[in-house]
């Protein structure tokens, strides 16, 4: 029934006394997963406590670094909340600039995801292509903000840097280039049968389950839930912009891929609108050092889903409470449902498909084989290799795919 040689431990002699803090604990029957327990906390740095000990302005830089891919998300959600408590009216130009950086971040995040997804199924060419395209976005972000990640563009009351017409022209040229490349990815995703076969039917999450478990972002939208904070609870400049919410009825990893690719196209549309309609005016208003007592709930549609901040101020220059709920935390419950009754080989891509924002490397998996009572610990790399080999035996082999040259 089960083949013991599939559970190889790559690290030398295993020390029985040293207990690994497993991230995933899986109950296996043969090759099928019966249940998954996920343990988080590796990235717990104590940020919420640190926020209470620092001033509001210092917290912007701390909160930006919660996640390296979603840094603008957290920073904007935070300043939006503080601005609401302080009753500040942020100038329109600042809101448009925030939305511009937000959409550029979405593009870079989705391209990153595309590469990671390609890597997880063994299609490394996709990783190289999409990350090369991502560099176009990184160059633009460096031009606009001075850094590739952790932009520091927000301040309480607006943004810190302005856009010149020359910068705007550069952005538009890059967007045109990226749109061409994205069309290629959409073509590959919709026409390459290897990809379609590999991703279809994997990681199913029905609409009812997605609603019950509170799935957000592309994970939820691929289960036909048209939930997008940019439309439902508009913030920054989104109330004035015209775009579509991308959903898909397939409820599987393939659907999530399609949703993200379509969102890339929508982002290009949004960026063009922002630059065409950029209002004149100041880029920030003065904010008081002491924020009056009050509370606010602020939301932002991160590339991964809904990000929520709750901020409570008490009249001093330090916040009373800052609560951050990143989107991955909301989607993690759904992963358990998606893996039920699936093969162990599906695990890497299903987890990657929610675009998790916990530590990307070195997740440990404890596999409990219910048939023979064995318990082994795998690391992510060996699960990744196992998955690619397993699917190769089913005839899905990306190394044999013809590589097409794109300009």
């Amino acid at each position: 029934m089960s083949e013991p040689e599939q559970f190889k431990i790559p690290f030398g002699p295993q020390h029985p006394a040293l207990k690994e803090p497993e991230s995933f604990s899986i109950a296996l029957r043969g090759e099928k997963i019966l249940g998954v327990d996920i343990r988080l906390g590796y990235n717990h740095r104590g940020i919420e406590k640190a926020c209470e000990e620092r001033t509001f302005i210092q917290d912007i830089y701390l909160i930006e670094r919660i996640c390296g891919i979603c840094s603008h998300v957290h920073s904007t959600a935070y300043v939006q909340g503080v601005e609401e408590i302080a009753g500040l009216e942020v100038p329109k130009r600042a809101l448009y600039i925030r939305s511009l950086i937000g959409e550029l971040e979405r593009i870079h995040s989705h391209l990153l995801w595309l590469g990671v997804a390609g890597h997880e199924i063994g299609f490394d060419t996709l990783l190289m292509y999409s990350w090369r395209d991502r560099e176009v976005v990184m160059d633009i972000l460096t031009l606009l903000t001075g850094n590739r990640v952790n932009y520091g563009i927000n301040t309480i009351g607006g943004v810190r840097r302005d856009i010149t017409p020359e910068m705007a022209k550069e952005v538009l040229t890059s967007v045109d280039k990226l749109e061409e490349r994205t069309k290629y990815y959409i073509e590959v995703a919709t026409q390459e049968t290897t990809i379609i076969n590999r991703l279809s039917g994997v990681g199913m999450l029905s609409k009812e389950d997605a609603l019950r478990l509170g799935a957000v972002g592309p994970t939820g939208r691929a289960s036909d839930i048209p939930r997008d904070i940019r439309k439902d609870d508009p913030y920054a400049a989104y109330a004035e912009l015209d775009f579509n919410v991308c959903t898909d009825k397939r409820c599987d990893v393939y659907g999530r891929t399609v949703v993200r690719l379509l969102e890339l196209m929508e982002s290009y549309k949004i960026i063009r609108q922002i630059l065409a309609n950029l209002p004149e005016g100041a880029i920030s208003v003065r904010a008081p050092r002491r924020i009056p007592a009050g509370e606010a709930v602020s939301r932002y549609e991160a590339p991964r889903g809904e990000c929520m901040h709750y901020i409570k101020a008490n009249g001093t220059d330090k916040p009373e409470r800052v609560k951050v709920r990143a989107p991955t935390l909301a989607n993690v419950q759904s992963v358990k449902q998606m893996l039920k009754d699936r093969y162990l080989a599906d695990m890497p891509i299903v987890v990657a498909a929610i675009d998790p924002c916990f530590s990307c490397t070195d997740r440990m998996i404890e596999v409990n084989n219910l048939d023979n009572g064995e318990s082994k610990v795998l690391d992510w790399e060996s699960l990744h290799n196992y998955s690619i080999d397993w699917y190769k035996k089913q005839g899905i082999d990306f190394s044999r795919m013809k590589k097409r040259e794109i300009a």
Binding site: P21, L40, G46, E84, G214, D232, D233, V297, R321
Partner: protein, 158 residues
Amino acid sequence: MTAEETVQQELEKKFPALAGKVRVQRARRIFVDVEYQDFRPLLEFAIGLLKFPYLCVITGLDEGDQLGIIYHMSGESGIILSIKTRVPMSDPKVKTVTDLFPSAEIYEREMVDLLGAKVEGLQAAFRYPLTDDWPTDQFPLRKSWKTPDVPKGEIKHV
């Protein structure tokens, strides 16, 4: 009447004790303060009639002698209803809401670990987010807990 005002009216009609405690801060933001014994019926009412199908997060607050707990729910048309309730810090017992919202589990565990709340009805599972060897009587997010000045370990160079 706006959607928010409708919600406010419906809540005050069904729970007269809430008169004056339902605050519409701005478009799509409603805050409610409720005593813990009325909390559960209010939650169920909000879900059922007012179409609030999604729990965003549960925030725990150290308010000195009380533990404040806010349940943030998101409903149709993007409205967020934040229901705040309080239990005494000396005995911070609350019942789990995972029967209504399975996703609440992780937020409740966080409150247990960081603030010392006691959530009844949670099944035994991993701690989150602290390590297994963190002492169970130390609650970092409480105001009284100060980050200890741990002497820096010896810096190792090659």
